[in-house]
Amino acid sequence: MSALEDLIASGKPVAGKADGARVVLDQSRWRIMAEHLAGGIYVLSGLWAEPGMVHAALLDGTSGKLAIVSLECPGGSFPALSALHAPAIRLERMIFDLFGLVPEGAPDTRPWLDHGRWSVQHPLGAATVGAPRRQYDFLAAEGEGIHQIAVGPVHAGIIEPGHFRFSANGETVVRLEQRLGYTHKGIEALFRGAELAQAAKLSGRVSGDSTVAYSLAFARAVEDALGVAVPQRAHVLRALVAELERLANHLGDIGAICNDAGFALLQAHCAILRELVLRTAQRCFGHRLMRDVVVPGGVAADLNALAYRELATLVKEIRQRFPDLVELYDGTASLQDRTVGAGIVSPALVRQFAAGGYVGRASGRAFDVRRHVCYPPYDQLEFEVPVLEAGDVNARVWIRIHEVEQSLRLIEQILGLKVEGATHTRVPSGSGEGFALVEGFRGDILAWVRLEAGGRVARCHLRDPSWFQWPLLEAAVEGNIVADFPLCNKSFNCSYSGHDL
């Protein structure tokens, strides 16, 4: 038995499904878990709470097994995982801000999402009215000639808000510290008591560029909770929209990274291809970003023969035009000079943080939910998971380039699958708990949901891949020059909205 299975066996299963149920650990087991996490025996895939209880999602990288464990905290506190395992730091700060549960022994007790501007404190916990404004101290970087550069939250370009505090020695970055939380929307509070249809819509609005992946994660979690079997045709269509979303985002990203290196030519061409994808999506699914297409129980759209032809033409068009752009990227020396060797993330850090998506795969972490925690229809489809070791901006661009090619391959296969039948099945109104891990374009999105009797959502947590990628950006920029930060940042392209909840 693996260490993860041991841990689960030692816990008390919560009443519900026999297989894959959540287990409640005692404090000593929770501490052992922290040691395992620090030792890299399995990885932390999520950490969240509800009043009086914290939950952690654990992932065994080799077997692809995902488990949810909980710890009851009647005293309003729990042993901090972050004392041993750094990736938990921001998640525990978030838990304190939202629920008021105190992580005991945490190395960093500053607020994270709560900037002292909410009308209540701990809105999902005690919700005490009135919030004292506390001074937020950035971490110090001391030394001769070290100066601070404060950037954001309002930027010169039209991008999401986030504050970046650089401590620099001349042009060289000594320390970067992020401050996020400016786009906090109270997603988790909105989920409480929401009707299923309403909650499904909400899940698609957590992070706009990943709307398909988010609604897919939520839908799969609900189906897991209620034991709903989705028709095969729905699985296939879901994979189709997910791959189209990945395609559009990767194309946009490749161009945007090049634009941040002052090479607007590639962005112009990539933007044309991205626009082609979005317009095809508009015609086939009625929405450019395919929002609200994936719903619990299946999909809310179907394709006719004309749409199939349009999608086939789209794939052909991109297959024809994309290689030239790759060649332009690879053959422009001035561009390569910027991307190669900039913003390196070490494989050890990526493993420790279990960073998913292109950030992880560019630094040697071969993990893709579609392959390693396989969900249908990817078990029937052929695709490769590209992995590189360099960990620099160039590697993250190349991972995207390869994934564009793989997505095209997947779409072709999906279009070739002749699966007929229903696209939707009725979701019974019941109660239960479920979770799902889904591969969005940024990486693995975790969804955990508890439904109460009557089919309303009691509690839902959606964990964005950026939680484990943002901290790595701080590490990637260290030792680089200040002027290279935008390039590194764009190559990560982390979500603000998904992270700020």
């Binding site: 090479f263 200040v482 002027a483």
Partner: protein, 318 residues
Amino acid sequence: MELIRELAVQGGEMLLVVLLAPLVTGVVRKLKARLLRREGPSVVQPYRDLLRLMRKDVVLADNASWLFRTAPYLIFATTWVAAALVPTFATGLMFSWSADLIAIVALLGSARFFLALAGMDVGTSFGGIGSSREMMIAALAEPVMIMIVFALALLAGSTQLSTIAAYMVSPAVGLRVTLGMAFVSLLMVGIAETARIPVDNPATHLELTMVHEAMVLEYSGRHLAVLELASSLKLLLYLSLIACLFLPWGLAPPDASALFYAIGVAAYVAKILVGCTALSVFETVVAKMRVFRVPTFLGAALMLGFLGTLLLFVSRGF
């Protein structure tokens, strides 16, 4: 009578550059947009922007000193004078006696000095970053300009632009390695001085990568309009300088008839258009370089200028 005519030509030249400068910026932007298969704003958009900025209120930081408020005008004035010294369509201008390459370098240097001071005046981090980067570039670009001046002055026997231009169209000039080196060197330093890709990106929205834009980030309203006009003028100045030094054909000689002036203006417009096109294509096909790569770039320019001067000494047998 003579004086009036000279005044008219000189005044015409000064007005021409200041009126033409925003158009040059507009044309470059339009060409770059078309190269990216975008429609792009109209070529007269910079004029509209200037008008819009002129009508807007000025927002000043609380701690802005008199320097911050006067710097835009000083920068504009020095740049305009420098631009007026470069023969555009006619040589033998009224200011010819002072139309000295060294004077132009000095005027641009003063403009930069005030801009860097203004960038640091309000005390924001971006202004400081911009000023420090600008000074790093300037420390490397100015010696290059001086080297180019040396090389040309040794050849033509004068630092006066009219004399050099006249020498360059005369049969005495021949095909010289020094000229080629000075030309490439001037192109490189021109790109750095006018804050174009690959040294700086005039279209960027990334505050951390800016050089020129970072220094003017705190400016608004008429101050910004004047600064925008000054940087357009600087671009035109460098295009004119390259045209005057290395493509001096068509310049109207002193005391020429109206026909020569007409030919001069037409040739000038054509040369600037060629320059704009070359600049747009170049900016489209290269990425911006790392900030610390700029010294290497300008170092190469300096070496070219230096070698050009040295070769001249060797061939002359000093």
